[in-house]
């Protein structure tokens, strides 16, 4: 934490606060616009999708869509910039892709899982990366499934427990390593602390580890490059940053971990414009802004001569407490640096601006 102190540090400014009449589970910016989506569950047990536009100091509702089942998560990751279809996972295990201009009938729908889809991620769309657009969903039934919107009904990859093995809830999924058409990797975090890395090119398990606490959120710093860093957050206020460039045959990836707050860290999101800055949101309603610094040498040889990664260090740039309830979802705007939206369990969605990120 060098010369960045006092008012020179990035400040988190709360720009707009909007009270909602439903529990919000996920909020995402609509790419290439000043609009955002909130997904959640109304008190009467139905799903809500709301589309807002940012007007000055307030959010204006553009559209409200109600669906029969509560919606847990959504992503724009797998659509093209022109179409901007939203893929959602709901409490019943259904994966739907919606055209927000005509939301009555989904563009793609499948009952992918037997239980709630906890987490969803998309890759290949939005002009980012190469390769087929794919969506991955992780569910409480212990399976992680990868879908191609062009293929109906069956997933293109299915990571399921071995026959007879008792299942663990999958809490989070993320795509990574999609730097060319063939390569792709899915990282999944489970409630027993397992993190598993599946290579979709070879259809095999590439790496797994256990971080001793249930894994709430995993994210690669960029989906569309050779995998560089992976951040995994967990219960008990801990998170780990893995250096994914060097895989040791037995020790796996090097990591540094930090215990940030006493409560669960619900989400981690990297800043789209700078892959070494990320924000974690916690169960105490606080947000922490972190910067990762690379070590002098990212890999070194161990005693047997095989390459081993070296983890860097973390510094806390800023932290702020916005709410008394957990902040369960967080998203940076890909278009404006420092603009982000977060949704908390106190039924409010907040638009925040993080200043001075240029000076980091």
């Amino acid at each position: 934490m060098s010369a960045v102190l006092g008012l020179e540090r990035p400040q988190v400014v709360s720009h707009v606060q909007q009270a909602l009449s439903y529990t919000v589970f996920d909020c995402k910016w609509v790419p290439r616009s000043a609009r955002l989506m909130c997904l959640g569950s109304a008190a009467r047990g139905t799903g809500i999708i709301q589309l807002y536009e940012l007007h000055g100091a307030r959010l204006e509702v553009l559209r409200e869509i109600e669906k029969p089942k509560p919606i847990k998560c959504g992503t724009f990751g797998a659509t093209s910039l022109q179409q901007r279809f939203l893929a959602t996972g709901d409490f019943d295990g259904n994966l739907n892709i919606w055209n927000l201009e005509a939301p009555e009938i989904p563009v793609y729908s499948v009952k992918g899982h037997k239980e709630i889809i906890n987490s969803i991620d998309g890759v290949g769309g939005l002009g980012i990366g190469e390769g087929a657009p794919e969506i991955v969903t992780g569910s409480r039934d212990g399976t992680v499934k990868v879908w191609d919107p062009r293929q109906k009904d069956t997933p293109v990859a299915n990571m399921e427990p071995v026959q007879g093995e008792s299942k663990r809830d999958c809490w989070t999924v993320a795509f990574g390593n999609a730097y060319n058409q063939e390569e792709r990797v899915v990282c999944a975090g489970y409630d027993n602390g397992d993190i598993k890395l599946f290579d979709l090119k070879t259809m095999s398990l590439r790496w797994e580890t256990n971080i001793k606490n249930g894994v709430c959120s995993v994210e690669f710093d960029r989906k569309d490059i050779n995998m560089n860093k992976l951040v995994a957050t967990s219960l008990e206020g801990k998170f780990h940053v893995f250096d994914m460039r060097t895989q040791h045959p037995t020790k796996g990836f090097a990591s540094v971990s930090e215990k940030a707050q006493k409560s669960t860290i619900w989400q981690v999101r990297h800043l789209p414009q700078n892959r070494d800055i990320f924000m974690t949101s916690g169960g105490s309603g606080s947000l922490h802004l972190w910067k990762y610094e690379y070590p002098a040498q990212r890999s070194k040889k161990d005693s047997e001569g095989s390459e081993m990664g070296v983890a860097g260090s973390l510094s806390l740039l800023q932290n702020v407490t916005l709410s008394t309830q957990p902040i369960s979802s967080l998203d940076w705007s890909p278009d404006k640096k420092g603009l982000c939206v977060c949704g908390a369990f106190d039924q409010t969605v907040r638009v925040l601006i993080v200043t001075k990120l240029n000076k980091i």
Binding site: D148, R150, A157, M159, E160, N192, E236, I353
Partner: protein, 423 residues
């Protein structure tokens, strides 16, 4: 009896009285002088000077100068008038006493008032200081708030700008898209025509290519779009990856802080299961009473009394299997082993008994004494006399009145000394 100082000299003006008092070698300090409105006393043991003044004086402003073996008083009169004499002439003893007491009381009261006044001023000063610091801090806070507010406003302005850019950008893009769509249709038609006219009208074909080049941008984009669509690989071949999870007994998520509790719970469950299992598996052919550890203990005791040591050991073994938390079982088994000369086993069992008897309360005194004695005996029979002595001394500590233990301890000490001397 004090020595009165009588050789004083005085003179007066209208407003003040000047009194000079030689001290006859005694040393005076401020503490020796006591003055009130109408009473003046200088007491330097054994010397004493007191005077009931003719008229009241202003004792606050009056001064006394000590020096040169002399005290020089400057007393300011309350009422400017000439005094007939320094002191009141007819003053009988009672009046004197009365006056003295009054004087003392007055002085006390004055002192009290002074301290009160001091306190009040101190408090006020403190308050003032506090308010000053508070103001400073407020100012600081306000400064920071203002800075933050300014940033917020700047940022909001930027955001608005950006948003408007976005809007314009969107409009521009939609116009572009429409144009592109328009242009798409044109070249497509042209291409179709081309195919038809290809062989027949080569000139026209060339002109058409010219035309095409002017709309170059439009067609390029369509072509690139087509290419891009073709570039998207086909959906993957479906496959399944089988996954193994780190085993976890509980259906809840793993938390580090709960791991210890969970381990304990599992341990207890395992213990309970073990006992139930051990009951069930081999002992089905035993009678009901034989599954009761207490009954088995009694049986063992009886066998010990009769001299059947092996049988007693068996009974105790079975009892231990059923319930390994009863210290008496180990204690009695130790006794059996002693008789059977299984000394190591005896030591083990007495140790286990002592472990189970851990809260050293008066209730299990006798048991602990027995355990120590048995272990001590075993040690001695193994010729480990020092350890044996340790145990005997422990037993003595618990029960100092036991003569037998004392005697045995003595014997062991002699043995040790004997071996030390000889070696």
């Amino acid at each position: 009896m004090p020595v009165w100082l009588r050789e004083h000299s005085w003179r007066q003006s209208l407003t003040a009285v000047y009194l000079s008092l030689p001290l006859r070698g005694a040393r005076a300090t401020a503490a020796n002088i006591f003055c009130s409105e109408q009473y003046l006393k200088v007491s330097i043991p054994p010397f004493l000077f007191e005077a009931i003044l003719y008229a009241p004086i202003d004792d606050k402003n009056s001064t006394a100068k000590i020096g040169n073996g002399n005290i020089f008083f400057t007393l300011y009169k309350k009422e400017p008038a000439m005094w007939d004499s320094l002191t009141l002439a007819n003053a009988d003893k009672e009046k004197l006493q009365h006056l003295r007491e009054n004087a003392v009381l007055e002085a006390q009261e004055k002192a009290k008032e002074e301290t009160k006044a001091k306190k009040i001023t101190k408090q006020e000063n403190k308050k003032y200081a506090l308010e000053a610091t508070m103001k400073l801090e407020e100012a600081e806070r306000k400064r920071i708030e203002d800075l933050k507010e300014k940033e917020r406003q700047e940022v909001t302005k930027e955001l608005e700008l950006w948003k408007n850019q976005q809007k314009d950008g969107d409009k521009y893009k939609s116009i572009q898209a429409k144009e592109e769509l328009h242009q798409e249709k044109e070249p497509l038609k042209e291409r179709k025509n081309e195919k038809l006219n290809k062989t027949r009208i080569p000139n026209e074909g060339s002109s058409k290519t010219r035309l095409k080049s002017t709309r170059g941008r439009g067609s390029c984009s369509i072509f690139s779009q087509d290419l891009r669509e073709e570039q998207l690989p086909a959906p993957r071949a479906a496959a399944t990856i089988k996954v193994n999870f780190t085993p976890r007994v509980f259906p809840t998520a793993l938390r580090e802080s709960r791991v210890a509790e969970e381990e304990e719970w599992l341990h207890k469950q395992a213990e309970a299961r073990r006992i139930i299992n051990s009951d069930l598996s081999e002992l089905e052919d035993l009678k009901e009473e034989e599954k009761n550890p207490d009954w088995l203990k009694d049986k063992g005791n009886k066998m010990f009394a009769m001299g059947d040591y092996l049988g007693a050991v068996n009974a105790y073994n079975l009892a231990v299997r059923l319930n390994n938390k009863l210290p008496l079982l180990y204690l009695n088994r130790a006794a059996c082993h002693l008789k059977l000369r299984n000394l190591h086993k005896a030591i083990e069992d007495s140790s286990k008994a002592l472990e189970l008897l851990t809260p050293p309360v008066p209730d299990n005194e006798s048991a602990r004494v027995k355990a120590h004695v048995r272990r001590g005996t075993a040690f001695c029979q193994l010729e480990l006399y020092t350890e044996g002595l340790q145990d005997y001394e422990a037993a003595l500590k618990i029960d100092p009145k036991n003569k037998i233990i004392e005697k045995d301890a003595e014997k062991i000490r002699q043995l040790i000394q004997g071996t030390m001397q000889s070696s």
